[in-house]
Symmetry: C2
Subunit: 180 residues, 2 copies
């Protein structure tokens, strides 16, 4: 399997952190990865907390864990909304069980907490939600990027370069494990 065959979902909702959604989406597309942006409806427009728009490609309930190989969750205020959606939490939980690469940054850790996959994992996040991550059983580190098996977490926008370099390495490793 090569990156050209890989499909990744990027979760969107109102007030996402602009660069934390767009840098990963554009960066993965640069690698030939097919990225689908998911929202409450397909073809709807959300705005980032600074105002950059994004148009969704698919609905949350079109996120089939059998179809997609990876997931990207941005920060901003969107995670506060995303964590309330049962179909999103199911998707996150199933992707995690399958060992598929999950990238999350800043406030996105809230979604992992509500999906129940933080217990015992090495993670980072914005310091604002450190207590929530620790209370959920996470081993929190103040590092630009933290990897725990399929889980790649990061803190804030200036960490985006090392975050995406690391996430793409995980995606390549996943491809290598699923060759032929």
């Amino acid at each position: 399997m090569s990156l050209n065959e890989v499909k990744v979902v990027a979760l969107a909702h109102e007030a996402f952190e602009d660069l934390e959604l767009w840098y990963p989406v554009l960066r993965l597309r640069e690698e030939g990865v097919r990225v689908h942006i998911a929202g409450e409806k397909a073809g709807m427009v959300y705005h980032g907390k600074h105002g950059v728009p994004v148009t969704t490609d698919i609905r949350y309930d079109e996120m089939d864990p059998g179809t997609y190989h990876g997931l990207i969750i941005p920060g901003g205020w969107a995670p506060d909304k995303l964590r309330r959606e049962e179909r999103i939490l199911d998707f996150v939980s199933q992707l995690n069980q399958q060992g598929k690469p999950i990238g999350e940054i800043c406030h996105a850790g809230w979604v992992l907490i509500s999906a129940g996959i933080v217990q015992g994992r090495r993670v980072t996040s914005t310091p604002a939600i450190r207590d929530d991550m620790v209370n959920a059983g996470g081993q929190w580190r103040d590092e630009p990027v933290v990897v725990d098996k399929n889980l790649v977490s990061s803190r804030r926008p200036p960490d985006l370069p090392i975050y995406m370099k690391t996430y793409i390495d995980r995606l390549k490793a996943y491809c290598d494990q699923h060759k032929g």
Copy 2:
């Protein structure tokens, strides 16, 4: 010479296109390139046309053509301001004479026009300024990315992945030519 030794300037001014400044800056940093964001003053904050902030690192008159190996110019409304600054036009012109990679996207072509380096070059841009590019002597193409020697041009934000892949390839080629 390797990408870790390369220094690139990214030009900023009020109402830059948010992703057209930030994607290249973060992407180059991911490759280990040192990127300095230039503005009227160092340490000042500009906002993109959608509202994403950027803090400048250096003043325009600190842009020494002997120190930097490349240049990135974003679109948005910033180029309308950037093209009025003689020190910027001098820098662009000298970098071009030295064959150093210049990346420009969307409305950034205005800066090249005023620096007098469009004549006879294959270029693209947002269709909005196509007539200006043609009147300045450019051979305009409607393609996601166009390369003419050291000049890499692109049209709009969805082209950012192929734009930066191509610009980084040019930067690597420049490094290979300046080994040892």
